[in-house]
Every structure is written in C-alpha cells, then in structure tokens.
Symmetry: C2
Subunit: 128 residues, 2 copies
DNA sequence: CTTCCATTACGAAAACCTTCGTATTAGGTT
DNA sequence: AACCTAATACGAAGGTTTTCGTAATGGAAG
C-alpha cells in the first residue's frame, strides 16, 4: 500500500512542469530549465529531485551514470488539485471568477480565447 | 517609501478572502470563518492577523476593544498575482490550459459558463 | 592503474509557516 | 476598588522549504 504522494510545493511544481513537458530529464537538464527562469544552482535542483523522489512525486532511473527523473504523478490530476486549491482558497469556488482573473492577468491570444470557447461548447454539449 | 507587501501565504490568502468579502472583521469573526473550513484556534487566527499586519497585507483599527482588521491589498491585484503565479509555474503561461483545468476540477454551473462566455465576448470586443 | 571530472549523496543552515501555551491588558460588573 | 472575562501580546516549538558547501563515487581517458 503505497501512500498518496503529498502536494508538490511551488518549486516542486515547476520541476514537475519541466518533466511533464520533457517526459523525463537529468538533473542537469532540469537545472538548466529552472535556471532560465531564475538563478538556480545545480545541487539545489538535485536536492529537490531527491526529495521529490522520497515523496513519490517523481521516479528515478539509475541505470545511467546521470540519473533520469520522470514524473510519477499524473499531470491532469495534479493540475486540477492546484487549481482546485486556489479556487477554494481565494475564489470561493467560483470558476468564472478565477477565469476572469486568469484572462486579465495575461492578455490571452485570440487563439487562446477561441480554444476556451470551444471548450465551453464541449462542456455544454455533454449536458444534453 | 513603504515597500510592496509580500505575497500572502496559503493561510493568509484564506484570511484575505474573508476580509474582502466582509470588508472588515474582528479576530473572532475571522477565526469562526476559518474554523468552518478547518479546525482553527483563536490564537492561531490572531497570530496570523498580527503577522499580516506587519507585512502590510491588512490594516488594523485599534479604536475598539476588539480590533478590526481590513484588507490593505487590493483584491483584484492579489488574485491576479496568484493566478499569474500558478499560470507561469504549472501551465507555461497558457491561460486556456488553466481554464480547462478549472472547469474540469469543478463542474461549473450553466450560469458560470454563460458568464465566462460573456467575458470572452467583452475581451474580444475590446480588441477592435 | 591513476587521474580527472561530472555527478550523486549527505547534512546542515537559514528562512518561513503554522500552531499553541501562557502572560498581560482592558473594560465592564458587583 | 476588586474581580471576572474576553481580547491582545509574546515567544517558542515543530515542521517544511529552499539553498548550498563539501564529501563520496563512478566512469572515462590517458
């Protein structure tokens, strides 16, 4: 019975995003991705990945000299948890209020808006 | 020159949500609101509010015996920061992907969906 | 085999978050 | 004034997060 892994922290979430995109990555690759956003040392990235391994957030492949890390928690579920948390904590559960803030915090491209519209169509389509 | 207040923590964000809704509140009122979500002691709520006062997140009115706390940071800006953070950290800045997760993490009501649609109309309306 | 270098392992420091016990204070009541 | 109650103030414990220095290790090259 392996326990449910805990929620990722802010930094851990950034790493998961990298791994979800890449499929898997070495410490060096993760470190470079993080460093591009904000100065991040190599051992810092390594330590985070080690902790995330203990927590069960990622899986480590030690066959190669440079270990490869892969996400162990599903992207969809984790992203939903994160959004759901924020939704409850700050928006009283109102998805439309959160969406409003999301759209005003970045100017979304027309393509983005169109994609959202399609999404709404699909959701309403399922209802009938 | 008073510095920009730091980002609220998770617990602090919950308190801000209470204060934004209420306008202002005493420690007791905040504590009861928090306690409804999750067991929260009185001195815990008090301490958090004191820390938030130091950070400049809330303003304290000491004229009455029971001090009244009011939000000092604007709701709109803070919510945008929170959503923006999550957007960058986990969604690569893609608002539509975040919206998708928001809508699938709660089943939004038809009213919610309609409100979002109207929101999209407004945004696209401004473009021309 | 020895050397060298990139990588992993380990530990610890520093900051922060959350909670709570205890002391102090203010105001009203008798 | 003395007392009771509810509120604030204070500090500290316990946990977590993030960062980094330093040591150990493995593999490749000479």
């Amino acid at each position: 019975m392996s326990k449910e892994p805990p929620r990722p922290t802010q930094s851990e979430l950034e790493i998961l995003a990298v791994l979800w995109d890449a499929g898997s990555a070495t410490v060096r690759e993760v470190q470079q991705a993080l460093d591009a956003r904000r100065p991040t040392g190599y051992t810092t990235a390594l330590k985070l990945l080690q902790i995330m391994t203990e927590k069960g957030l990622v899986r480590r492949d030690e066959r190669e000299r440079a270990h490869r890390y892969a996400p162990k928690v599903p992207r969809e579920k984790t992203e939903q948890q994160m959004v759901g948390d924020l939704l409850d904590r700050a928006f009283g559960g109102s998805a439309s209020r959160l969406v409003m803030r999301a759209l005003s915090s970045r100017q979304a491209t027309p393509e983005e808006l169109e994609r959202i519209r399609t999404l709404l169509d699909e959701i309403e389509g399922e209802k009938r």
